[in-house]
Symmetry: D2
Subunit: 321 residues, 4 copies
Amino acid sequence: MIKVGVVGGAGYTAGELLRILANHSQVELSFVQSSSNAGRPIHAVHKDLIGDVEGDFSAELDLEVDVIFICSGHGKTQEFLSSNDLPSSVKIIDLSNDFRLKAEGNDFVYGLPELNLEAIKAAKHLANPGCFATAIQLGILPLASHGVLTEDVHVNAVTGSTGAGQQPGRTTHYSLRNNNVSIYKAFNHQHLGEINQSVKQLQSDFEHDIKFLPVRGNFAKGIFASLYTTVSATEEEIVNWYKEFYKDAAFVYVLDEAPDMKQVINTNKCLIHVEKHGDTVLVTSVIDNLIKGASGQAVQNMNLMFGLDQKEGLRLKSSGF
Amino acid sequence: MIKVGVVGGAGYTAGELLRILANHSQVELSFVQSSSNAGRPIHAVHKDLIGDVEGDFSAELDLEVDVIFICSGHGKTQEFLSSNDLPSSVKIIDLSNDFRLKAEGNDFVYGLPELNLEAIKAAKHLANPGCFATAIQLGILPLASHGVLTEDVHVNAVTGSTGAGQQPGRTTHYSLRNNNVSIYKAFNHQHLGEINQSVKQLQSDFEHDIKFLPVRGNFAKGIFASLYTTVSATEEEIVNWYKEFYKDAAFVYVLDEAPDMKQVINTNKCLIHVEKHGDTVLVTSVIDNLIKGASGQAVQNMNLMFGLDQKEGLRLKSSGF
Amino acid sequence: MIKVGVVGGAGYTAGELLRILANHSQVELSFVQSSSNAGRPIHAVHKDLIGDVEGDFSAELDLEVDVIFICSGHGKTQEFLSSNDLPSSVKIIDLSNDFRLKAEGNDFVYGLPELNLEAIKAAKHLANPGCFATAIQLGILPLASHGVLTEDVHVNAVTGSTGAGQQPGRTTHYSLRNNNVSIYKAFNHQHLGEINQSVKQLQSDFEHDIKFLPVRGNFAKGIFASLYTTVSATEEEIVNWYKEFYKDAAFVYVLDEAPDMKQVINTNKCLIHVEKHGDTVLVTSVIDNLIKGASGQAVQNMNLMFGLDQKEGLRLKSSGF
Amino acid sequence: MIKVGVVGGAGYTAGELLRILANHSQVELSFVQSSSNAGRPIHAVHKDLIGDVEGDFSAELDLEVDVIFICSGHGKTQEFLSSNDLPSSVKIIDLSNDFRLKAEGNDFVYGLPELNLEAIKAAKHLANPGCFATAIQLGILPLASHGVLTEDVHVNAVTGSTGAGQQPGRTTHYSLRNNNVSIYKAFNHQHLGEINQSVKQLQSDFEHDIKFLPVRGNFAKGIFASLYTTVSATEEEIVNWYKEFYKDAAFVYVLDEAPDMKQVINTNKCLIHVEKHGDTVLVTSVIDNLIKGASGQAVQNMNLMFGLDQKEGLRLKSSGF
């Protein structure tokens, strides 16, 4: 059994992680740390976990673990690692964006299994990708792998309210968000860094823009991303590139028809559809932002890092509706 | 022209009031006070009012007005009146619950036009009813007027998120409220006081319970109330009582079939349906919580207090969908 | 492995059943019959099942199975059994309401495990309870078991749109249903038969009414039921009755605070809360209408009928949000 | 008073038209034709119109009218005009797409007031623009008027379910549409014809693509359109172009901050925001699809055709929430 600790246990990604780990056959939960909730039952915060996860949030870490998931929010992992001296035997899976970009002294492997499978298997420290970044990369990387990204890529992606975290605020107030649509961080979202990094890993000469409009949708979970660019290959060729690229992927499916977002909700799947219109290739990519876009992918990475089947604990029943 | 001032201008009921007054042919807006937003344009807060309402929120009152609407929230009207010496010529319409209950020294008329029409016309100070209280009273008062409430009345009413005000919080967080239902203040809602007061005004021997379950719905606007009790009269008789009771009402309609809540959204209407099942009479009553349940009714009361047609400014286009 | 056949495989309950069975360790899917979709891939209809369930809908039955789930809709099971001569070795789990009421010649066991555990274990033919019926019975049966139902029981229950099936129609049109509430079949819902039957099984002298208002909610999945009646025992006593009644139940939890409906979505759980207000006991009961209210409970019953752990295949990750 | 007839009176656009006309001071409703509902009260179909619109649907036309609105659906106006010999004195406002494109013998003026004001004032036959077409043109025409569209224009626009009409179907089924997103008619929507026609009216050398992805949103009303292209002028210059272009427009506002879609719901407004990111100009444009995108614009056109103030009958209270 893998002994697991969770840091920052009261937020949305930690909740989703605990929901998944509760039914993971190879995991034993050692501690769930939360400074704001220490001493309270875990299901006092993640209320749906009643009957699934016993125990209380702890203030302290238990360092006798095999792996720690850090769910503390962006900027806080660096802080956490500075203030805590983790034994070198403890693997780290970080859900924040602190270590996603390659840099001098950063030994975290970027945890997109469809891109970095072997490196992930060998990783000790892993930076789990962002939610938008996952949907967009899975939509675009097969093109990069063929070196055909020679124009700007146009991306529009709609996300659910859980992407904004659990802190209540203006844009997540039900009265405003319900039946509403709005854009934020136009062309400037922080996930563009990791997306460009991965694209260049496969196509080093890529020098165009990924023009990305992030959109707030009026639903709680999910990301619907559409991407298009100019590519001269035929639809059939491109579809085959995608099928080839994902032939061993555990959770990515290339569909024959455009997906509804809700086909993936509550699963670790990514569904992709490719169609050609004139010179333009249009790719649709849908994920659950908290699962394949966060905690599900983190467990997929854990499975790889510990030599388990990628799907262990991730054969999740879709919401359906 | 009636010179109007608004106190507590940044909240939901004030916004809805301004939306209505913007197209009221007999109103001139003198000031919109907001301590938290003084100096900002009104449409910086109520953003949909762009092009409809010019001017800024003010810190101060302008006492050269004919009427002041107080939209400051429960408990704050008493405070406001203590700290401000209003000229006796200024009428007051208070949307809070501070003066709804009769008490020694309370000269506020309870502003349910279907109950207190003549008193409202003569009122100088008016206490505007609560949202749930409006839907429930309009559903039950015709029975009280016939003195047939001799058993408990069972009420379930679902309200939209705007009923909870604009301050973000746990129960109005989109991620939680979306696709959710929950109950609060079971059998204990603060509107029961005014409801019982009105029922006893018509049927002084009423001594049973109004058992009221308030429910949080996953929509922004509207109240859907169902009420039932035991009454021996026939359905036809009861329907006639309702039609008679509301024959001069400007905004209440007794329908032949059960309503959808959304038939009234964005209007000042109340739709009522009555059906008999055995000895049980079931009444459905639907309103827009912010209009007939708050600001629309406040304008209806203003119209009455100033001798205008009740419908002035309140011929509102329904949302439809 | 249990060989399973599904009849009426294209509807919502069949889809949900297939989502659950796909991850059930003891099940082998033999056939999924659908006359309207014979020959099409199963995931062409239940699109989220891509990667989870292979194979096509069949026109024919394969009688070499251990159990058949009948998901054909109300009234059609009788028809099906008349036209098909099933071997006596094949167990039947019927999701329709055709055999829920005891009658001369009806050998179907009513499949509410919290009520009929031993009978279910021994059953060959099983009638799976209705969705509203499940939520309401689980809310009320502990009172019946103590014989304290001596007044009418007042029930209001809100259901999601999937309860109306997949055939598009007026009341499931998005434009109408969104942000709407309405009542249907007031005091007259077809599930009252089975509810009364179970109540009388535990309290044979029950002769009052269960006054049930079914409500259409604007969400896709879930049932939120509130129930109240007059009981003289204290809150503490009653809570203890509930905890005792459900002490061995695999999926029912008695909570310390009132539930949100969404705590159970995508699970087979039923969450129950009990509180006392004066002489009135208020019970809240929430389930996922398609899981504990249909296909999940059907699998729970299958597990019991085949001697498996009740939770097998039903440790489902909650949607969370 | 303008005598008005409505053809095809039972659909969504007719309902919205009747909601608006009910409060139009210069209009007298002569007939509302509907073959499928002839003889039924108008508020039996458009149920929220109770108390606002009396009278029944008629099978026949009354040709003693000043103007007929045709709301029959695409392709049916041509049919209608062939089978009915309208007096030449009757003006026609057609909400279908039958006459939007210039063609030999087509004397319908394209009714976008911000583009064709004078022609509309003089028009006898008017083709009312499509909903997407309105939002997109209002977002792009100021650029065309300066001749700066020298690259492809990238458009993503999300629409509510009312855009799909009242006939229930798969994509408007609540269970599917709720919490969902999907794309349809990618790069190929029928409104592209009228959009290109208008762009070329202002910039005759435009020869690039308007790459338009139409998206199904999970709300009933509204369109949220984002558009971007490459323009070298500064943000300040471009914003000034927009303000100048719309300086006399009755319903278009150029905002200082990006809009929420719901700011315009239930109004005839179009809100526009312009921002520059590097060489890319991003325009956001939001409307209510049934009002500025259909029936409200039709009334605005009627006002112009009859010499009235454009805003007559269109000072609509916003939904707010």
